[in-house]
Symmetry: C2
Subunit: 223 residues, 2 copies
Amino acid sequence: MTQFNQSRVPVPTLGRLATYLRVLSDLERTHVQTISSAEMERQTGINAAQFRKDLSYFGEFGKPGVGYTVVELQDRITRILKIDRRQPVILVGAGNLGSALVGYPGFQENQMELVAVFDNNPAKVGTVIHNLTIQDFRSVKELNQQLHARIAIIAVPAVGVQRVADDLVHSGIKAILNFAPATLRVPEDVAVRNVSFMQELAVLSYHTSGKLMAPDVLPPSNK
Amino acid sequence: MTQFNQSRVPVPTLGRLATYLRVLSDLERTHVQTISSAEMERQTGINAAQFRKDLSYFGEFGKPGVGYTVVELQDRITRILKIDRRQPVILVGAGNLGSALVGYPGFQENQMELVAVFDNNPAKVGTVIHNLTIQDFRSVKELNQQLHARIAIIAVPAVGVQRVADDLVHSGIKAILNFAPATLRVPEDVAVRNVSFMQELAVLSYHTSGKLMAPDVLPPSNK
DNA sequence: TGCTGTGAATTAGTTCACAGCG
DNA sequence: CGCTGTGAACTAATTCACAGCA
């Protein structure tokens, strides 16, 4: 029964789709043709039923008695995540972290193309990192009229980050990956995901030398 | 396979505690004495009842009609998260990302002390970044007998990351923050949290130009 | 009165269990 | 058969709603 469960997809499902994609790439590289949900569980630690259910939100993909065709599933997931074609991404903040991100491999692998880097520090503007010239953040709106990026990464200090977010929203950005330790206020139609190292470390710290068990042993914390 | 800790503190609660701590620091700096759950909601986007419930797992902290004493709450949360004293942390991988992390401010703020950096690249061993000399990863077990770190950050490529994790576990590490896009297999008593930029970007990509709403608008994704 | 603390209700997410197809 | 796809059962997490206290 191919009914597109267009009813809301759980957010954690989307994160897991990216994990499946990673495994599928490995399988493709080693010329494996098909994979069953049980084998996917072995590779990722994610429950086999969970894998099947995650896919079921988007239609039917597998062949009973056989499993899933690697390349076909890969193709479907990339289309679901809209990374079947290049996604332009802009980065704000060319500090330690921002600069490290520019050189991060894996953008390419996931069809994410970093198309511009911005900073507000005049000393940095004009400098080149990894083939990209750092632009003045004040020109973000104007430049994004050409670039058409819908995704932005924020890697600036917490102070002033709200202003940065506001300007990005006015530049047409619809999704923000925020590394600054601050809560952003954005319109309803803009998605935000926060990455906080310190928060992650704090959670881990809680578990050290406690009598408490690890919350998730094998499975990745796919939020 | 995902078995949860026998205590009934939800994992997301721990992440939010770190967020509250951030707000409390700001308040302390500006000499604010008390804060109500409603005001905390305004500052973080986290529901006021959620805030109260999060704290209730650990006892009673507030004064009815008044709110919470900033410094007292700060003190209690740091003790809960075991960051009331310095937590030694070791880092594996001195590449782009690893190096950026070494210079990250906020370790100090959260009483996390980066005490050693390791790499397996002989060209890097001996080099200094931010006052820390890069050590040969093969000496991690030996060195950690002095350092007594229980928390490690992994910032190496996906290939070989399982070996790194195994060695860390044998060196007494009980909590791992993993930046490599791979699923780690570790003993039950070792906690792992995965940070995957590409996964986060994939989730955001899904939300671009779709008719679907952002999953969490104001509240930080404290998963 | 203005707030906290918390059972109860609700919503979200995961896993089970099995019908049914190739 | 061996596998998928999915309603049903379950478990986790959030939010409501209100009693009770300073």
